[in-house]
Amino acid sequence: MTQSRIMPGFKPSLAYTLLYLALIVLIPLSTLVFKSLQLNLEDYWAIISHPRIIASFRVSFLTSLIASAVAGVFGFVIAWTMVRYNFIGKRFLDALIDLPFALPTAVAGVVLATIYQPSGLLGKWLIDSFGLKVAYTPVGIVIALIFVGIPFVVRTVEPVLQEFDTTMEEAAASLGASRWLIFARIIFPNIFPAVITGVSLAFARGVGEYGSVIFIAGNLPYVSEIVPLLIVTKLEQYDYAGATAIALTMLVISFVLLFLINLLQLWARRRSGQ
């Protein structure tokens, strides 16, 4: 990057950037840390170890994990289809992939709940033919989180596939490799790190997701109650300490998991020799 000595406005623009960042982001976020410092370890543990809270952590992290894995598989297939094949309506479908980014979560929430509720379009069919109840169960949460997560995977994998150097495929083909071998040994290992990045983005978003989940989840304690909802419940009871303790725990677990995912990604990159 080029460094400039004659460009004007360094001091005022840096000052403005820092001031705005501090006022809007840093000071408000720091309240989380200060508030939790007021709790002693026993209080904290009493809040967190409540069975209902533990159950909600299990629901939140498990559903996000499953949903982001499913989004990873389908997101990869969609990205592959969009980059490698041509078919009618491709541009339209490609634009639709960003819908979960653009559609407000509350809208997604009520629509998904309407589709998958026992009397809904798909909900009725799934119950009648498979006995599968989606709405008001963890399955419903997974469905909502797949919806939210899919663009993260597709939009992360697409550019990497586009820039993927096909001469490697040609070299392998001229050496007699089959299509399957080329995919398994050359294409997939090179694309896999991007898939993991997409999955971890979807996962991170899924754990904190609120609007698109609460309508379809039914929010039954111990069964389909997610962590963000419990934070809201605590706040409605003016239990700021409880809300903060849960929020901080959620942030810490997410960061640890994302760190582990990053390690996995590093390992995948090393293996593919990037």
Binding site: T17, L32, T105, V110, E169, S178, Y240
Partner: protein
């Protein structure tokens, strides 16, 4: 001899393309998935909104609580978007045009709101300004309401949409470099002239793109706003909150009428986004 060469050629091309059955089944899976998970929810919003006819749709939209929710949503966007746009441009200018220690840290901190759950984004403002918050007593003594009032909703929305504009500008401005701007300055242009006549034309499509995403999120934010709003009908309900309230009261038409407005916003956003991406890639090729 000739036949053999041709045969090898055929084997090679076969190994370069997916077999037909693979191609068709993958396209089938992709199209099926997008139709089921993305297209059908979008269509269902419209179907539900108009299921009792146009008159019922119109009544639901023009009902006072719905109108006040729409007004509040627009007000929040009108305050939030310009503030974050100005910040985005200034921050991108600072980060891409100067070298200073702590730059990477600054870039990471700017992205922070993206990795925080919307509910937690609301919570931190309650901890600051709520009844038992840092400034709670002081605010009460001076009769200023932030939580369960419009200022809290605006603040939480600004926090949530904070990184959108900067994020679009930084990679582009980094790629553009500052030779053109330096040329303008050394020819005697002022800083503002350089920005408006050199920088702005170069970044306008990316800037609009960031503004578009920022606006969509500002109008649609639910979790953070829900925590700080207090759900006072006709007062602190934005459109997304109005959808929730109506839905929970089994007023399906009202919920989906409001939802259809926001879905319309999402469609407009997607169309403009596709257009801006096309513009930006064209601008990229020509320069």
């Amino acid at each position: 001899m000739h036949a053999k060469v041709q045969l090898i050629g055929q084997v090679e091309t076969q190994a370069l393309y997916d077999p037909k059955w693979v191609r068709y089944s993958l396209i089938g899976i992709a199209v099926g998935f997008i139709t089921l998970f993305l297209l059908s929810p979008l269509l269902l919003v419209l179907y539900q909104a108009f299921s009792k006819g146009l008159q019922a749709y119109w009544n639901a939209l023009s009902e006072p609580d719905g109108l006040s929710a729409l007004r509040l949503t627009l007000l929040v966007a009108v305050i939030t978007v310009p503030m974050n746009t100005v910040f985005g441009v200034v921050a991108a200018w600072t980060i891409t045009r100067f070298e200073f220690p702590g730059k990477n840290l600054l870039t990471t901190l700017i992205d922070l709101p993206f990795s925080v759950s919307p509910v937690i984004s609301g919570l931190i403002f309650v901890l600051l300004f709520g009844a038992q918050g840092w400034f709670g007593e002081w605010l009460q003594a001076h009769d200023i309401k932030i939580i369960f009032a419009v200022p809290g909703i605006v603040l939480a929305t600004i926090f949530i949409t904070f990184p959108f504009v900067v994020r679009e500008l930084i990679p582009l401005m980094q790629e553009l470099g500052c030779e053109e701007e330096e040329a303008a300055i050394s020819l005697g242009a002022s800083g503002w002239q350089t920005f408006f006549f050199v920088t702005l034309p170069n970044i306008k499509w990316a800037l609009l793109y960031g503004v578009l995403l920022c606006n969509a999120r500002a109008m649609g934010e639910f979790g953070a706003v829900s925590v700080v709003s207090g759900h006072i009908r006709g007062m602190t309900n934005t459109l997304p909150l109005h959808i929730e309230v109506s839905y929970n009261e089994y007023d399906v038409i009202a919920a989906f009428a409001s939802a259809s407005v926001l879905a319309g916003l999402a469609i407009v956003t997607l169309v403009l986004k596709t257009f801006l991406e096309w513009k930006q890639s064209k601008a990229g090729f020509s320069s």
